[in-house]
C-alpha cells in the first residue's frame, strides 16, 4: 500500500496523541491477596482448609503468561463414598482472583483436570479440592512470569 507523507504524519500524530491519555487510565489492574482470600471464602465458607492431598503441576518459570499449562490432581480413590466433588483454582495477582471451578463426581475415575491459563504477573497459584465429606484441601505454588498476560494493549 503506498503511503504518502501526509498519511504517515497523521497516523503518527494520532498515535502519540492517544498514547498520552492511557498512561493515566492504564494503572495495572490487580487482584490483591485480600481479594484472593475473599474468593476462596466464597467457595469454602467457614470451613477449615488443610494443606495436602492436592498436587498442582505448573511450570515454576513461565516465559509467556498468555498460555500456561496447568494440571491439578488429587489423591483420592474416587469411590462413591470418598471422591472429589470439585477443584477450584485461584491466583493472587491477575485482575480477577478466579481461574476456574471444575466439578467432578464418583464416576470420574481419576481426580485430575488439566487446562491452560493466563498469568498477569509473578505470583502464587492456589488449588483447592472439595472432597465428598466436605473437607477442603489446598496447595499453593509460586510461579515466576516474565511476559505478563491479560492487561496488555490490543494491536
Amino acid at each position: 500500500m503506498p503511503t504518502t507523507r501526509r498519511q504517515f504524519l497523521s497516523l503518527a500524530g494520532g498515535v502519540t496523541a492517544a498514547g498520552t491519555i492511557p498512561i493515566v487510565t492504564l494503572r495495572p489492574l490487580q487482584a490483591t491477596p485480600a481479594m484472593l482470600n475473599t474468593a476462596i471464602r466464597n467457595v469454602v465458607g467457614e470451613a477449615q482448609i488443610r494443606t495436602g492431598k492436592v498436587k498442582l503441576d505448573i511450570p515454576p518459570l513461565v516465559e509467556n503468561g498468555n498460555t500456561v499449562p496447568m494440571t491439578v490432581s488429587v489423591a483420592s480413590p474416587m469411590t462413591a463414598d470418598d471422591h472429589v466433588k470439585s477443584i477450584h483454582v485461584f491466583n493472587e495477582k491477575n485482575p480477577q482472583p478466579n481461574i476456574g471451578n471444575f466439578y467432578l463426581n464418583s464416576s470420574s475415575g481419576r481426580a485430575q483436570v488439566a487446562t491452560r491459563i493466563r498469568l498477569a504477573d509473578t505470583q502464587k497459584v492456589v488449588a483447592i479440592a472439595r472432597l465428598s465429606d466436605d473437607t477442603f484441601w489446598q496447595v499453593a505454588v509460586d510461579v515466576v512470569v516474565t511476559l505478563a498476560a491479560c492487561t496488555e494493549e490490543m494491536n
Binding site: P22, T67, Y103, S108, Q112, C150
Partner: protein
C-alpha cells in the same frame, strides 16, 4: 465453531479414560485496552459441560484467566457404549456443541 475432541474410540468396561477437548474462542478478558484507550469488552466462554449418555460427568466454570482457545482434560470411567456430548456456553449468547461416540466392550 471448531472443536477438537479426543476420546478413545474403544475401551474396556471399567477403564478410566481421558477426555480432551479444545475449542476455538478468543477468551477476551475485558481488561485489555486498544491503543486509543478504549476498553475491549469481555467475551469469554463461561461454562463447559460434558454429558455421557445424558448424565453430566464433568462441568467447569471458566474465568478470563483461562487462556484463549480453552483446552480441558478430564477423566471418566467407561461404563457403557454411547455418546459424549460437549457444550460450551459464553458471553454474548455464545453456544457451541460437539459429540463423540465410544464403544465399551
Amino acid at each position: 465453531m471448531a472443536a477438537l475432541i479426543n476420546v478413545p474410540a474403544k475401551a474396556r468396561r471399567g477403564d478410566v479414560i481421558e477426555i480432551r477437548t479444545l475449542t476455538s474462542h478468543v477468551m477476551e478478558t475485558g481488561f485489555r485496552h486498544t491503543v486509543d484507550g478504549k476498553l475491549v469488552p469481555r467475551d469469554i466462554i463461561t461454562s463447559f459441560t460434558c454429558r455421557y449418555n445424558g448424565a453430566e460427568i464433568f462441568r467447569a466454570d471458566l474465568f478470563p484467566a483461562i487462556a484463549a482457545n480453552p483446552y480441558l482434560s478430564f477423566f471418566t470411567v467407561a461404563r457403557e457404549s454411547g455418546r459424549f456430548e460437549f457444550e460450551w456456553v459464553g458471553d454474548n449468547g455464545y453456544s457451541s456443541t460437539a459429540s463423540a461416540p465410544i464403544t465399551v466392550e
